[in-house]
């Protein structure tokens, strides 16, 4: 299964897990699986109409899904998905 890396600010919503295995054949299904496993993370990733929030950046390997096929981008076993948070500390 693909592995999704969870950044520190969101780990409180994944029971502290830094990586979560997600099922599905594309990003949309993988995120649905993530929010099924960890419902509290949902409002942090999706807006009220169920769309991915614009400040949420999700990468497959090195590539932003926005530069691929968005949430329809296919994924396969062994893919490494990285959620990139907007952080501002300095």
């Amino acid at each position: 299964m693909p592995v999704l890396r969870i950044p520190t600010p969101l780990r409180s919503y994944t029971s502290g897990q830094s990586e979560v295995q997600v099922g599905g054949s594309n990003i949309s299904e993988a995120l649905a699986d993530l929010t099924t496993q960890y419902p509290p993370i949902k409002p942090h990733l999706f807006n009220d109409s169920g769309e991915l929030r614009p400040f949420v950046n999700l990468f497959i390997g090195e590539n932003n899904i926005k530069d691929l096929q968005g949430v329809h981008t296919p994924i396969k076993d062994g893919d490494r998905l990285v959620l990139i948070p907007s952080i501002a500390g300095g």
Binding site: N64, G89, G90
Partner: protein
């Protein structure tokens, strides 16, 4: 014309002069260059120390804060002896002690849409070490409009990010983050904390990138974002592309001048304490101290459980903010309630949540338990 190095400077920079990628010409280039550092805090400390040590001829420091004891866990350019002094002055003294051959110009003022272009225009490179979203968007837009590289770094708890946003050659900050997260969704370091050494790791990477860009050597992080996690000790790199829809650097950019960044982000341009829910919703610690003598008030503490070990108000119920929505059934909307956190910001968001759920008799403790510790129960520590 690159400035010459004095005999003393040749000795001082001898370890640089021995590296072929720097050498005498590179060191002269550094002496002739200038860097503006926004923020003299966690990131600004290592960044300015190493850039000064490296011999950047002119360093500008922008900050309007004063040194506080709670800064010293990570802001290593300051010291116990400079608590209460202006950060820019504390930093300037340290930098000139480290390297008296450089010029340090200080701007003891908030970096705003009114002064940012004036301050930044004469510098070769800008380093973003601020602690809040409005100033990050401002720093980006200034760099785009002036055509300068913006060496970006940002930290939270154990996570760090580094990139070089240079719209002439690659994406800008807005290409990656077109808009900020909604207010309150991403905690600041003042709320969520940060490992003290993290800005050391990330700030030195930021300084490294600045030196590479100024020297024109290596492969700067243009079009790449470095993601660091100290707990896992992982460095991930991702590719960043220019966003064709970018509102400041895209072909159809519609933002042509600096805007009101606090309005754009919905938060103030500082990472300070003293959250407020608005005058009608706030209660001061003095009022609360009076009220608890006569009234039966419920107290709701929305801090994280580990914060209760630091300080607590007796008989307060603890529901961490992140769990509040799911645990509303534990509260009675008929009760008069005062909600509090460390400094009043998280509780203000908790109050919004309660108000939207029909709780009408809730007040937010202005300044939080820290204000309570300062004004009422002086045995409690402030953190």
């Amino acid at each position: 014309m690159m400035p010459e190095l004095s005999r003393d400077e040749i000795l001082r920079y001898s370890r640089h002069l021995l590296i072929p990628e720097v050498g005498l010409d590179g060191q002269r280039k550094l002496k002739g260059s200038s860097a503006l550092i926004i923020g003299t805090g966690g990131l600004g400390s290592p960044v300015s120390l190493y850039l000064a040590a490296a011999g950047i001829g002119r360093i500008g420091l922008v900050d309007y804060d004063v040194v506080d004891s709670s800064n010293l866990q990570r802001q290593v350019i300051h010291g116990t002896s400079t608590i209460g002094k202006l950060k820019v002055e504390s930093a300037r003294a340290k930098l000139l002690d480290l390297n008296p051959d450089i010029q340090v110009d200080v701007y003891n003022e908030p970096y705003t849409s009114e002064n940012a272009l004036r301050i930044a225009k004469d510098y070769d490179i800008i380093l973003d070490g601020t602690d809040n979203f409005p100033t990050r968007y401002l720093t980006n837009d200034v760099a785009v409009f002036l055509g300068k590289p913006n060496v970006y770094a940002s930290i939270y708890r154990f996570d760090g990010q580094v990139s070089v946003f240079y719209a002439k050659e690659g994406p800008c900050y807005r290409c990656l983050f077109p808009e900020p997260p909604p207010p309150g969704l991403v905690p600041s370091c003042a709320e969520g904390g940060v490992l003290g050494v993290l800005p050391g790791t990330i700030g030195t990477l930021q300084a490294t990138e600045a030196l590479k860009v100024l020297l024109g050597i290596g492969e700067p992080l243009i079009g790449k974002l470095l993601l660091y996690n100290a707990l896992d000790m992982t460095f991930d790199f991702v590719k960043l592309k220019k966003n064709p829809k970018c509102r400041v650097c895209g072909p159809n950019a519609d933002i042509k001048e600096l805007i009101d960044y606090e309005e754009f982000c919905g938060v103030p341009s500082h990472d300070h304490e003293e959250g407020s829910a608005g005058a009608n919703w706030d209660i001061t610690v003095q009022e609360l101290a009076e009220r608890v003598k006569t009234n039966h008030l419920k107290l709701l503490d929305v801090r994280e459980p580990h914060e209760l070990q630091i300080s607590a108000i007796p008989n307060a119920k603890n529901i961490p903010l992140g769990q509040l929505a799911a645990r509303l059934s534990e509260l009675d909307s008929a009760d008069e309630m005062v909600i509090f956190c460390k400094s009043g910001s998280r509780s203000a968001r908790g109050l919004e949540l309660l108000a939207s759920a029909g709780f009408k008799k809730v007040k937010n403790l202005k300044g939080g338990i820290n204000a309570w510790a300062r004004e009422v129960d002086k045995n409690l520590p402030i953190y």
